[in-house]
Symmetry: C2
Subunit: 356 residues, 2 copies
């Protein structure tokens, strides 16, 4: 294990830090663009680097189905495969197994399911999921977890959490050779008792970092924010913390003020592909007819290549006439907006100015 | 008119030169990436600049239909609209009117047709086509021409050429204020007598440059090459020459050896989007199963961002699982291949080593 984390400044419960991985250093709090199949849709690894991303996320579930772990290992690992030379975090596939696949059967030692692509049968166990991530050579691996839907009864959430904690133990006992580090995942749905239990047991297992999962599954924002507020006080100060799949800038800001260090979300890229742009003056829907002759950049304060060279009128035109190009240009802008947003948060923490 | 052209070295009939336009300098022989609607599909203007393109082409026909000349003028011209700060050549729409639109009616003074998008009626005249390009502020404008299909009888080709030459005269008499320069277009199908007549009459009209049109319309390569061989000896040495819509590297090389300076073709970008890649070792179809585990770059000698960072195996994977990203990465490579190919030709001319 070669992951290390250092908190360099604090503002309230928020922390600014440096996460050192086998493939480089990440300034935290950080946003990880999502490259489900190895690439952020529409961008090559060089584009992601130009944007200033320091770490990316990729999805184990999708990579297991295509191209498969054997091919990834034969080709020298995920970094060699996708050409991204910086740090990579892979999720464990837990979320996708419970949201995308069909005919799931969960048992004490793993989950069997059918691929959403071709119906083929697959089995994920806590042990295999760690080894697969190790064979891909990722910097940060996640344990296999069960991600219950929302809402769920406390009884079912408790049963699910018990399995998830057993799986975490099994993952922790797996040979980590090849990994930078392994994170545990706090589940427990909207129940404080369960979230507290998850934090206590996972911390006792001494992971290299801790994620908060089971959020961004349709719950009200209040529940999402409580999951963070309940969990972070019990997590060790010296380990990185990751809020999975969140989200909107307001939710990210809230989580950062409660001490979260890492984020991922498909939102900026997916919204960009649909013409929904994040700007410092609010969201804009570029397909709207009001932008047909608007000569301004998407965001006048943004330094991304899209904003430095083109106008809302041009993006509006492309979104209708040449959507391939529009999707790429809008993805670039939205990711840059998120990366800039994180930089602003880091600077606010360093200045001691980030409070609830 | 502010276009100027200087031949700096020769090898046989091939010439290396410098074309100076209101928006910058172009080393010739040059390839112009095609941005039909203002952008090369999948690439922003910054990407095109990074690739080393010095000039791009855009299509008047498409821009007239969407967003329309009024909007382009209101927004400050095509350069302000699409964010490309280098030289732009626009075609006249002649080719598209005769290949894309329906219900065409040609008369002595222009052509009336229905849009391929929505059936709306439009009329192009030689005068309007020049003024539209001037209002967009393009560096090089093309005269309206009639592009007969292949094959066509000599009688019909002669009638069509007579109209095209009259239109060229009408274009030449139009106020060029706002343009860098205006090129005439040599038509005449596969008939030497007609091509010779076109060259003689157009040269007498003293255009700023001369294009060879009516090729890449399905004719055998032999006819395409003869159109070049017949025309260039009659064109003035001191003016730039442009072979429209061509094409494959072999055809470009042949045309360069006969003194052509400018090229455009959708081939590299369109082929890239379909996974057909040009490499120094020949064409490869990246969807082919043989590339599933191929760790080599698309082209080991290529310095494009795709080849420097990713493998054939990754592009193969993306072409199947994430085609948006694959299309962008393959377009980048193919355009870089063409731009490198042109640079090699320029260097061969400078070294006096480019012969038939």
């Amino acid at each position: 294990m070669t992951l290390s984390f250092e908190v360099t400044s604090r503002s309230g419960m928020a922390r600014r830090g440096v996460l050192t991985t086998p493939h480089g250093v990440v300034q935290t709090p950080a946003f990880m663009p999502v490259g489900t199949l190895g690439a952020v849709k529409g961008l090559g690894p060089a584009d992601l680097e130009s944007l200033g991303a320091e770490i990316m996320l990729s999805n184990l579930y999708h990579l297991v189905l295509r191209p498969g772990i054997d091919i990834l290992e034969e080709l020298g690992g995920l970094h060699r495969f996708n050409g991204w030379s910086g740090p990579i975090l892979t999720d464990s596939g837990g979320f996708q197994v419970f949201s995308l696949s069909s005919l799931r059967e969960v048992d004490a030692s793993g989950v069997t399911f059918r691929s959403h692509l071709d119906g083929s049968s697959h089995r994920f166990t806590p042990h295999d999921v760690v080894r697969w991530q190790a064979r891909m050579g990722v910097d940060i691996a996640m344990v296999l977890d069960e991600c219950p839907p929302w809402p769920v009864s406390e009884e079912l959430a408790a049963e699910s959490l018990a399995r998830t904690l057993n799986w975490a133990r099994s993952a922790r006992d797996t040979d980590p050779t090849g990994l930078g580090g392994l994170f545990g995942i706090v589940q427990g749905s909207t129940y404080r008792r369960l979230r507290d239990r998850a934090v206590a047991e996972l911390v006792a297992m001494e992971f290299d970092g801790y994620a908060i999962g089971g959020v961004s599954v349709g719950e009200p924002g209040e529940d999402r924010r409580r999951a963070v507020e309940w969990s972070t006080p019990g997590l060790p100060e010296e380990k990185p913390r990751y809020l999975m799949g969140v989200g909107y800038p307001d939710d990210i800001r809230h989580a950062v003020t409660h001490g979260i260090d890492l984020f991922d979300c498909v939102l900026p890229a997916r919204s960009g592909r649909h013409g929904l742009l994040f700007t410092r003056e609010g969201e804009i829907r570029i397909k709207n007819a009001r932008y047909r002759t608007d000569p301004l950049p998407l965001d006048s304060s943004c330094q991304c290549t899209t904003c430095r060279s083109t106008s809302r009128a041009f993006i509006h035109h492309l979104m209708r006439q040449d959507p391939l190009t529009a999707k790429v240009l809008c993805t670039v802008h939205n990711l840059r907006f998120y990366l800039d947003f994180m930089e602003d948060l880091r600077n606010a923490i360093a200045a001691g100015e980030l409070t609830h």
